[in-house]
């Protein structure tokens, strides 16, 4: 078994604008099962960071416990990282983000880590509109403990053991919409054309960007009767739109069919281009997104793509009106204005 990936790269792949090759964004070779959807999501994160020319030290990756939460070892080896306690990734991220607002925070979690043990943490991170990307690698089962149904497993989905799931599954994207999350989307590990630009857009979004990524568990939940198998997802997938992320400085290269295209400008000047596949859906209208999601579900379809984006998003720092300087770099002289200032303040109370 190989435990080292060769350091060679394709000679026609050039370094990006900041001088890094794609391999510089990779991690160590994965120890997840061969064919795990999570590895594809790791691949999409690597691709996205390479393409937006992110300097690796500008990002912190955080995770909880589970197969999904192991993945930060397999990407962005040169970035900051914190593998936290089960379900507690959001609170660790909150603390880190409060201390240093200058980093991009990439939280990686799974369906168990988010929808079961970490549900309380998850909903509060949304409520606070913490500036982070929150990726759930959602395979509908507990892969690390041999494939029991998780809280997001669909009602009636039949696992490898042959049991039909008697419980209703939690739709994390629907929940995020309900809680007024400012960026919500769903994608599929097997569709990098959609997933890579969605990760880029999520990183550019100022606020809580939630991506629920369906990621088949190839070992325990890839049987034909499961609603999270590669074949089932491929047969039932539909998209809100053809999605493209255009960084601020780049020109738009894709021609979209007239009347169907929509453009959403992000806070930093970059744009999301959408070629809408459903006429009654508007990415900035939360109700149309909720309706669209329910409508697809009622037809047994899995809706992917961007659901909703709030272009007026105000993140936690903005709400709390903190200073622009990261708190962890404030010195004593910044924090303690001195005796004369204290005296003058005290005077106003006399």
């Amino acid at each position: 078994m190989s435990y080292v990936k060769p350091k060679f790269h394709h000679p026609s792949l050039k370094p990006n604008k900041v001088g890094y090759n794609k391999a510089d964004y990779e991690g160590v070779i994965s120890t997840l099962c061969a064919g795990c959807g999570h590895d594809s999501i790791s691949g999409a994160i690597v691709q996205a960071c390479y393409e937006i020319s992110l300097e690796p030290h500008r990002l912190a990756k955080l995770s909880g416990i589970g197969c999904s939460s192991k993945t930060p070892t397999y990407f962005l080896s040169n970035s900051h990282g914190f593998n936290s306690v089960h379900g507690r990734m959001p609170s660790i991220t909150t603390g880190a983000n409060m201390a240093n607002r200058d980093l991009i925070y990439l939280g990686v979690s799974g369906d168990g880590d988010t929808a079961s043990i970490g549900m309380g943490q998850f909903v509060h991170a949304i409520r606070r509109n913490l500036n982070m990307v929150y990726i759930v690698m959602n395979n509908g089962c507990y892969g690390l403990t041999k494939g029991q149904d998780s809280a997001t497993a669909d009602f009636g989905s039949i696992s490898k053991a042959g049991e039909s799931n008697p419980y209703q599954g939690i739709d994390l994207a629907g929940l995020a919409l309900e809680l007024n999350a400012t960026f919500v989307g769903r994608s599929f590990s097997g569709d990098k054309n959609q997933l890579v630009p969605m990760i880029k857009a999520a990183m550019a979004h100022p606020g809580f960007a939630f991506l629920d990524v369906i990621s088949p568990c190839v070992t325990f939940n890839n049987n034909k009767t499961s609603t999270r198998s590669y074949s089932h997802v491929r047969a039932h997938i539909e998209s809100t739109s053809i999605f493209d992320f255009v960084p601020e400085q780049d020109e738009i290269r894709v021609d979209y069919p007239e009347g169907k295209s929509a453009e959403v400008e992000l806070f930093d000047g970059s744009k999301i281009h959408l070629s809408k596949l459903a006429p009654d859906w508007n990415p900035t209208d939360r109700f149309s997104a909720v309706n669209r999601l329910h409508e697809a579900k009622s037809r047994g379809q899995i809706l992917t793509g961007l659901y909703y984006i709030n272009t007026e998003s105000k993140d936690l720092h903005e709400m709390m009106n903190t200073v622009d300087t990261p708190l962890n770099t404030l010195q004593q002289k910044d924090l303690c204005p001195g005796n004369s200032k204290l005296q003058s303040i005290n005077k106003t109370f006399r």
Binding site: V4, F8, H9, H10, P11, G35, D39, T219, S231
Partner: protein, 591 residues
């Protein structure tokens, strides 16, 4: 694009770049793995079957395999394939019992082989086990041809050559040494069933500039000079020597001169350095022995005073190239340069020479007085006469002569059995999975950056004293092992079975060199631009699958820089990828 037909024996053959580039198609990775496993005898025999002279070629081959080596595309320098071959030859055990054992039952057919060089010897080896009576004619007293007369002993020790020539002669070849064939008619009158001409390109070109006649004995023709030294007819040369020419013969001439009395040895070439025909490593070896190489200086005149050669006069030029890359040498106008010399050796090329073939025998000659020879069968316009080696299409090299010999032997055998000689036998191929366990392969698939190892050399002070001391010492077992580990095992092929694929993308994500793409089909031009990494090297094929089961996409793999590391197969959950070893052997008469 159409689905790639991997049943075509040439498809995966092309992926094994070194083997494909080798004229004799030696299965290079196969023997390199054996060297790494210290199975030198087996490695030698794989070579011997394909290229007949592993010990000779391991020292002197032109190495067309090395520029083709994939290592050279992903790292700086190719695997030292040639020198690894020598490791096998140097360390092998007893091999003779592994070769076809005579005496062979006669099939009643008699073949004449004219010339005792690599082409004729290859024909002899391929035909002897089938019971042919082979008559080998050569003007010298020993077999080997140009390998003996033109390659100096400090590059190729006589013992190595003798050993490999004798393996063939000992198969029962009837030798007619010291016999210069003066007439093809006489040979044909002896009623051979077929005649093979492997007489090489034995005529060195002269350069009759002013003063040529007067200088007399102090002007030598390169290949004649090398032969005279090899057979010890000549053991001295003047202190100041000029060698004219920029090819490998010129390099051998200057280095030989340095060993038999030459002190100031200067190679003068009319063209720029980069246009010199000599192999870069031969130039390097000459310069290491303090030989001066001067470029852009065409010779003008031999300066002779009182009947004694004093030196030569050279002009000065610069090269200009037109848009077609055609070169013109333009005089710079600088004054001519005089270089003193006691002897001048002219090594500016060599030609075929067939004054001994009468022109009324039905053997037609064409351009440059070369015989008209079929490129597939090596048959001349007279059906029982075949040509091979340099005699067929002009000067090439040993490995090409060997390849010609194999083809000609197949033709002669078909011809003598009354079969159609254009109906060529197919190559022998085999494709076997290398899987030993879930993630275990039979070959070492861990690939790392490893710079090419240098071959150690004999101390200059020792080697320059005696022309028979071999300069290159060869890799020892340890260095040989390390260099062998640089081989990427390109013969272990990535085989894709599209109906097993679930399109999980694991192979795409893990591939270190981004060779694999799943996308919609299109024309090749278009596809090459929209892969994970643009496939700009058009000499390398794209491996295209059929339409996949789940989406209307196809798998495309750019063969160009695939490391054959097997990670795609290791990360594939359904074994849609497998690593299978592809063995390709050109058909030979006795196999």
């Amino acid at each position: 694009m159409k689905e790639t037909n991997i049943e075509d024996p040439e498809y995966f053959h092309k992926v094994v770049d070194c083997q494909y580039a080798c004229p004799a198609h030696t299965p290079v990775p196969e023997y390199i793995r054996l060297i790494a496993a210290q199975k030198y005898t087996e490695a030698y025999m794989i070579n011997w079957e394909s290229n007949v002279f592993p010990g000779v070629l391991g020292r002197t081959c032109d190495r067309p395999c090395e520029p083709a080596c994939r290592r050279g595309r992903v790292e700086d320098e190719p695997v030292a394939i040639c020198r690894l071959k020598r490791v096998a030859a140097d360390n092998k055990g007893e091999v003779k019992h592994l070769m076809p054992q005579g005496p062979f039952k006669s099939n009643g057919k008699r073949i004449a082989l004219i010339g005792g060089g690599p082409a004729s010897l290859t024909v002899a080896r391929d035909l002897a086990p089938l019971g042919y009576e082979l008559h080998l004619y050569d003007e010298w007293g020993k077999g080997g041809g140009m390998m003996r007369t033109q390659i100096p002993a400090f590059r190729l020790p006589e013992s190595v050559l003798d050993e490999e020539v004798n393996y063939i002669l000992d198969m029962g070849v009837v030798t007619h040494f010291n016999t210069f064939v003066e007439s093809m008619k006489e040979i044909l009158d002896k009623d051979y069933d077929a005649v093979f001409v492997g007489t090489g390109a034995p005529k060195g070109r002269a350069l009759e500039l002013p003063g040529f006649k007067e200088a007399g004995e102090n002007i030598h023709v390169g290949i004649e000079y090398l032969a005279a030294v090899a057979f010890e007819h000549k053991d001295k040369i003047g202190k100041n020597v000029i060698v004219l020419g920029g090819g490998n013969t010129a390099m051998d001439c200057c280095r030989t001169s340095k060993r038999i009395g030459g002190e100031e040895v200067t190679v003068v070439v009319r063209s720029p350095r980069k246009d010199m025909k000599a192999s870069p490593w031969e130039i390097e070896d000459a310069e290491r022995e303090d030989i001066t190489i001067l470029n852009n200086m065409p010779p003008k005149e031999f300066i002779v005073e009182d009947g004694v050669l004093k030196g030569m006069l050279f002009g000065k030029v610069r090269a200009e190239y037109d848009e077609n890359g055609k070169r013109k040498l333009i005089p710079t106008g600088e004054p001519d340069v005089f270089i003193p010399a006691d002897d001048v050796i002219i090594a500016i090329g060599q030609d075929n020479s067939f004054p001994w073939i009468e022109r009324d025998l039905g053997i037609e000659f064409g351009k440059w007085d070369l015989p008209k020879v079929d490129e597939l069968t090596f048959q001349s316009t007279r059906e029982n006469v075949f040509f091979g080696g340099d005699a067929a299409f002009g000067p090439e090299n040993v490995i090409t002569a060997v390849a010609h010999g194999h083809h000609a032997a197949v033709s002669i055998d078909l011809f003598c059995n009354g079969e159609n000689i254009h109906d060529r036998p197919s190559p022998i191929t085999n494709l076997v999975s290398q899987k030993m366990g879930i993630h275990e392969w039979t070959y070492d698939n861990a690939i790392a950056h490893d710079l090419r190892f240098k071959v150690p050399h004999e101390d200059k002070a020792i080697s320059l004293k005696d022309r028979k001391v071999e300069v290159e010492l060869g890799f020892d077992e340890q260095l040989g092992f390390k260099e062998a580990q640089r081989c990427l095992n390109c013969d272990v092929q990535t085989i894709f079975t599209s109906n097993l694929c679930i399109e999980c993308d694991a192979c795409v994500d893990v591939c270190p060199t981004d060779c694999i793409t799943f996308t919609h089909n299109g024309e090749e031009e278009d596809l090459r631009t929209r892969l994970s990494a643009p496939a700009e090297n058009k000499t390398q094929d794209l491996y295209v699958s059929g339409v996949l089961p789940a989406t209307p996409r196809i798998m495309i793999k750019d063969e160009d820089v695939c490391l054959h590391c097997g990670l795609c197969a290791e990360r594939c959950p359904t074994a849609a990828w497998d690593m299978k070893k592809y063995l390709y052997n050109t058909a030979k008469t006795y196999l």
